[in-house]
Symmetry: C5
């Protein structure tokens, strides 16, 4: 699922990445106007097309109202996940995360592709996620990595 | 669905635009006092009048409390969409988006009309939305257009 | 539905106004401690007493926490409306809207009465709301009126 | 329902107050770690123990994140009330409401006890709440009282 | 349930602590990318694996958007708890709570372990929670302890 609002074709990046990861699964794509239109569209994909997982791809402007838009979309996506018992990976890029338009395009591409890998792993390679538990993975910019370890045992 | 609170007759603009786009569909209009009254009214239109899509048209004042009002209305609209598996295009105009009253009227008209086209495309021309994926479409003010492309391929 | 928290007897104002508008309908009143207690009480009125519409009347203090209280109450009211397919007019008055206690009392009275008329119109005179679509109606303070018109037609 | 996070034994205050108000009803108490654990615990009390009303007692720290915690808990409590058609009185005390620790303890005690009376009245004496409609009742600190009256009649 | 986003292996700390507390119960662990992916994953654990309680472990960055992410995740967790009548202990650590990376690791470990004890007590030793009601327990940093007592009796 992607949007006409976004300034980068995140849907094509996701499709490309997923196709490079394996076969034996099918990708269905839909495009809606903006991120608040994603939840119900994801729900229909899951219920009517029997998708096992959805990716919700969107880009958001730099204003306070855009944060609220993201909140509404995100809460809608939670509602869909709980109603369908199906995971949805929300991949949102905020304009102010990048220092210029080139970095914004790069960030949208990278985050989408890294989350496409997460999607693949959630369905087919859950042990990969397990191995990366608590290791500070980030999607888009560099991973921050794990902290020095400490057991923190209670007395 | 529109409101008596709004200062521009968004409902008539939507009706006019939709009628110009084609025939073979029916437009049902209802008016409620304010944007928080839109969700349940949309739900009844969808459930009792079998609408395939709803447009929720509203205008919001410039105060912090108006942002909260929009949030409540927007979350209500999410709830309706998920309960009915039917898309609702929320078309909200904020008073502070425009520099004066003339621009505000123009913005309300344009955003409504462009979303009326989105509504039409969602139902009858989904391929049009697909072609515009990631192209920076905006409703009301000018489209911002797509970013320079980059593949962002992962190693 | 009104509250013991409010400093003006909004429930009596609503009852009085409704009784002046017509006969042939019945008004049932309940009082709860605060605005967050309104949603479930409205739901029971609607479900157990078969009300066709509810008014939720409350007054809110001037602090940030009061905004959050209003948000919780408002979201609860949305939940009730969507669960029952029944409209609820939320009539909330914020202490800081008025310049002094006299104006606050006046505002609580007027907003309640104007929303009582909205309630009546929603049930019995929907064409009145339709005629006022986009005309900048306000409840309490003066209406702001419609903007100069513009068609905003798309090319 | 109370929490181990709170710094005052609000549950005991509520039990004591309720027992002083009458007999013929039963009080069931549960303790959870923090306020976000209250909603599901209240839901189980209502559904599994057939409670007619629940009190959710909690204390909150002075930081921004504590406001968000209260919001989450409050929205959860709304969800429970609407799912069960049973009222829950949320009794939350914010650390910054009191000028020192002594006042905080006093406030927690008083607010809990006054809401215990509200709980009693909601179940057994609804006419008491009705008589106090719009009279500016506050739980904890002093009541603020009603405003000077005005009819605010519409022309 | 833990995440690949976190920088400390909270899941292993929880498992270790729970295993030290007793036998006669089984711990099932899953890892997802980020905190917003926890709710649906918890729901599936509860519904498909018949878990009696879930712990949702996550770490959050220091930015405003991270607060919103936590809110979305938290509201999702409320939704799951109410849909399943099963408690979920959310264990979230915010980067800015700690003065440096060492303390952050320590805090993640301690909070996880103390909440693992809460989880154990909720299921097997509810009287322990009851004894600690209103005693100012904190998870991670030191308990703040109870306030001086006062009865706050109403006249």
């Amino acid at each position: 699922m992607d949007t006409t609002f976004a300034r980068y074709d995140m849907g094509t990046a996701a499709e490309e990445e997923l196709k490079g990861l394996g076969t034996g699964f099918q990708v269905i794509r839909r495009t809606v106007p903006g991120v608040k239109d994603l939840p119900v569209a994801c729900k229909r994909l899951i219920e009517e097309e029997s998708c096992d997982l959805a990716m919700a791809l969107g880009m958001l402007g730099p204003h306070a109202v855009d944060k609220q838009t993201a909140l509404v979309a995100d809460l809608g996506l939670q509602g869909v996940q709980l109603a369908t018992n199906t995971p949805i990976l929300g991949v949102f890029v905020y304009e102010e995360e990048a220092k210029d338009e080139d970095e914004l395009a790069w960030l949208a591409a990278r985050r989408t592709r890294e989350h496409a890998r997460n999607a693949y792993n959630m369905l087919f390679r859950p042990e990969t996620l397990r191995q990366n538990a608590g290791t500070g993975q980030r999607e888009g910019f560099d991973d921050v990595g794990p902290l020095e370890t400490t057991s923190g045992k209670l007395s």
